[in-house]
């Protein structure tokens, strides 16, 4: 009998299970940060990682689901809107994969990460945080001081919120992105292949 090729059905169900895993990894990211005192929030690294190893949809839905869980458990109902910010993170990550900005040895990767994650992304989150949480100073002293200083010198409420946001987002998102790239490069290829056969993964540049 001739050899027959069989199309896998597993990728679909793997994605269904990977999505809650991405959400859970984002969630325990907070625990990791608490233990290691790493200079990030720890709540988006898994969204980036999920996008890198399992594709855009898993990263986006997983990141969104994380915020749904947070809204249900700790943050309260309106916080689900932050889920859209996590979708934006997945979109940016997907775009980076398409553009090939995932090689840590190339300076362009970091430059683009600072621009996209650090400067463009906070435009959206600044709007959200004013609409949802009223904006104003964060309850951390350094960003709050940056907020006060910007407002004092420009008198622009939006700008003050934005500058405050980028002061936390540039380090947080860029470091989270680097962390996700390094972890993705350590994931055995068969797992990566098992989840997304249609697109090659270029994570870690290897």
């Amino acid at each position: 009998m001739a050899q027959r090729k069989v199309v896998p059905t597993g990728a679909k169900i793997l994605a269904v299970v990977m999505v809650p895993m991405v959400a859970a990894l984002n969630y325990v990211g907070g625990v990791l940060v608490e233990l290691t005192k790493a200079p990030i929030w720890g709540d988006t690294w898994a969204t980036i990682l999920g996008t890198l190893i399992s594709g855009f949809w898993v990263g986006a839905v997983g990141g969104f689901l994380y915020n749904i869980i947070m809204a249900l458990t700790v943050w309260g109902l309106p916080a689900w809107v932050w889920g859209t910010a996590n979708v934006l993170i997945a979109i940016i990550t997907w775009f980076f994969i398409k553009m090939g900005w995932t090689d840590l040895k190339k300076p362009i990767t970091i430059v683009m990460a600072v621009i996209f994650y650090g400067l463009l992304y906070p435009i959206y989150t600044t709007g959200l945080s004013i609409a949802l949480f009223g904006g104003g100073p964060l309850w951390k002293p350094i960003p709050a001081a940056i907020y006060a200083a910007t407002l004092a010198s420009t008198g622009n409420f939006w700008l003050a919120n934005y500058v405050q946001a980028i002061s936390t987002e540039i380090p947080d998102k860029v470091i989270s992105f680097v962390i996700a790239l390094i972890i993705a490069s350590r994931v055995p290829r068969r797992f990566v292949l098992g989840m997304r056969r249609e697109e090659e993964v270029v994570a870690g540049g290897s």
Binding site: K12, I13, L14, V16, V17, V19, P20, M21, A23, A24, L25, Y27, V28, G30, V31, L32, E34, L35, T36, K37, A38, P39, I40, G42, W45, I53, V61, I68, I69, M70, A71, L72, V74, W75, G76, L77, P78, A79, F133, G134, G136, P137, W139, A144, Y147, A148, L151, G155, N156, F157, I175, V178, I179, I182, I183, R186, V187, P188, F191, G194
Partner: protein, 281 residues
């Protein structure tokens, strides 16, 4: 906050027998939705404070008030403490104009503005309402009831699975983090270190955690597939939900107060007491 979260998730399993626990999850979810929405519709620290008190009273009945109060205090108090002084003073908030008080700071007389102060108090209170509402729901509702709720709400089964699995993975992964952390500590991981070192520490925990998580995903997916998860039929729900008389009392109360609040909204607007003009544009 996440460790708090995973601790919360763990304890939700423990059922208590209070009138709040006995409520149908659909009723509780409606209340959660309703009160959170009210918190956002009205911009008023008195009314918002009343919403918060109602939540806390229900939490007292449900015997979960300690936990909720603690969470709110941790989030709200430092927020107000930082935001109120900055926002209510002259340069902290662009819409400041109504002086309600003057304080003496380092020999300077500074005006305190109603707008900034109102903003700095009302927003944290709003968030306190939504947080306490969410916690009240989560802490008094069993995971099985939540699954049944979303099933009844006609959520697609895959989406339902994702929510339930995430809630179940979180404590599982949190335990795993503990194990990995102990292992890495014994292999010389130093917690007091430079920033760069701390990022490496995150990787030292994050890499094994991710690999273990991914292998869990593989096995779980295979197990689900072997047990008919992908069968294209209507699934059977093992959990039954039924409205009881206490649920109808609750519905009646929600309808009554919706009426009262609608009257307030129509006659006094969404900011009945503070009436900040800048919000009208």
């Amino acid at each position: 906050m996440s460790t708090l979260g995973s601790r919360l998730l763990r304890t939700t399993i423990i059922g208590k027998d209070t009138p709040i626990h006995k409520l149908d999850p659909r009723t509780k979810f409606l209340y959660f939705f309703w009160i959170s929405l009210l918190g956002y519709i009205f911009y008023d620290f008195v009314l918002t404070f009343i919403f918060l008190v109602v939540n806390l009273l229900l939490a007292v009945v449900g015997k979960v008030v300690r936990r909720i109060l603690l969470t709110i205090l941790v989030i709200i108090v430092p927020w107000i403490a930082i935001a109120a002084p900055i926002l209510s003073l002259p340069l902290g908030f662009p819409w400041n104009e109504t002086i309600i008080y003057r304080i003496n700071l380092f020999g300077m007389e500074l005006p305190v503005y109603q707008e900034g102060l109102g903003w700095a108090i009302t927003w944290p209170l709003r968030i306190a309402v939504t947080i306490s509402a969410a916690l009240l729901f989560m802490l008094t509702t069993k995971l099985g009831e939540i699954i049944a709720l979303f099933f009844k709400l006609r959520l697609p089964f895959r989406a339902l699975y994702m929510i339930a699995a995430a809630l179940q993975f979180i404590p599982l992964l949190a335990d795993e983090v503990g194990t990995i952390y102990q292992a890495q500590l014994s292999r010389g991981l130093k917690t007091k270190a430079s920033i760069v070192r701390r990022v490496f520490n995150f990787l030292a925990l994050g890499i094994p955690l991710t690999l273990s998580a991914i292998s869990k995903v593989q096995i779980r997916a295979i197990a689900l597939e072997s047990r008919g998860f992908s069968a294209p039929v209507e699934k059977t729900l093992m959990y039954e939900l039924r409205f009881k008389s206490v649920d109808y009392v609750f519905f009646a109360a929600i309808i009554f107060f919706t009426g009262v609040l609608a009257y307030i909204y129509i006659t006094m607007g969404y900011s009945p007491i503070v009436r900040l003009r800048y919000l009208f544009g």
